[in-house]
Symmetry: C2
Subunit: 219 residues, 2 copies
């Protein structure tokens, strides 16, 4: 007993890999060398293999392009408009990943791979601009009601640097006192007992996430 597909669709996982790079929300792009859209930038992606789960395909793309595993990766949306790929029917199951800036292996300038600020992207191949837009909206939405921002942080960080990440993604300044109250209510951080004295201000406390891998939804 077999199910006969009514389309001969290929399936790819395309991953919007976000980081905070030089103080800006940035996306990792690949320059295409072959048609269609040769010379344009696009999202890292790969075709789904026989017997491969969707999440595993996205993990594989992430690992191949950045050398990183074990970061936050979430399925975003499936893009399947006919005609979105001139070569034939391709469904893109889009994912987004958040990479802490201290774990970046690809720091830009690598052959065919580079980071671009999300608000200054070059023209992208296919419908990838739309996919990045959807990923950014999901991220901004989750920032409001989850602890997702911690996924961008190194193991130990100051509250100011965490606030900076929120401000970078939201594109607005936050009131320091309100921000700290909100954080306290979340009860997601613990004091390391150490202090960071790199800046020109007095040494600031270093915190770490209580459950580093977990993204908690705030009710």
């Amino acid at each position: 007993m077999q199910i006969a597909p009514r389309t001969n669709a290929a399936v790819s996982a395309d991953v919007v890999i976000f980081t905070i790079y030089e103080g800006r929300l940035s996306v990792l792009l690949v320059r295409r060398v072959t048609a269609p859209y040769a010379g344009l930038w696009c999202l890292p992606g790969g075709l789904l293999d026989e017997g491969e789960a969707l999440d595993d395909c996205a993990q594989r793309v992430l690992l191949e392009k950045t050398g990183i595993q074990g970061v936050y990766l979430e399925q975003l949306y499936t893009f399947g408009q006919p005609g979105r790929d001139p070569r034939g029917r391709v469904l893109s199951v889009a994912y987004y990943a958040l990479v802490p800036y201290d774990r970046l292996h690809v720091r830009g300038g690598v052959e065919r791979l580079d980071w671009f600020p999300e608000d200054e992207l070059p023209p992208l191949a296919f419908d990838h601009r739309q996919i990045v837009g959807a990923a950014r909206r999901r991220l901004v939405g989750k920032l409001e009601y989850s602890t997702i921002a911690l996924q961008f942080m190194p193991e130990e960080f100051t509250l100011s640097s965490l606030q900076g990440v929120y401000e970078t993604i939201l594109g607005e300044r936050l009131d320091k006192r309100n921000f700290r109250k909100r954080l306290q209510a979340l009860n997601c951080l613990e004091d390391t007992g150490k202090r960071y004295s790199g800046g020109k201000h007095r040494p600031a406390r270093l915190y770490r996430a209580k459950s580093p891998g977990e993204v908690r939804i705030i009710k």
Copy 2:
């Protein structure tokens, strides 16, 4: 120039159709008559056609099973675990739809189609129980930060009946005064000037949604 799929996957759109039926959050199911899982209930679904957009496929499923169009329909998640369908690789692009209870054409008991309370589902075929669970979580989440609950309402309704819908979905009682304050802040309703006098209480004001089709995200 052709893209060669590395899987021979079929793609289906499966739709979790929610309504509030007899005061309970309910899901429309179809009884399977053929193998696999003959005799079990499953979500209404259909295979993606050549040249058909995913959203159009989901709309078609909804129209075929309920005779309804123009209701809230949102892509949920793509389920693609190898082995989820014993007949071969099938990706299910899952959607959920919200149908106002006064527009139900299928009131249950129709051949092969019936409504089931979401918390008392029969055993479902495939991974459809998991899909319903994901849809319910998305709905509950959106209830907190959007005007999505209005999609369940008839054209004119009382505030008590709207509160009832929230309570039904959340599975908890809400404080009437807080609920009305929150609604007022949303500024999504307008007074019809009419009153509903069907109950045993004094006649209650009838409201309507200011933008019936729109689901507004609350910041």
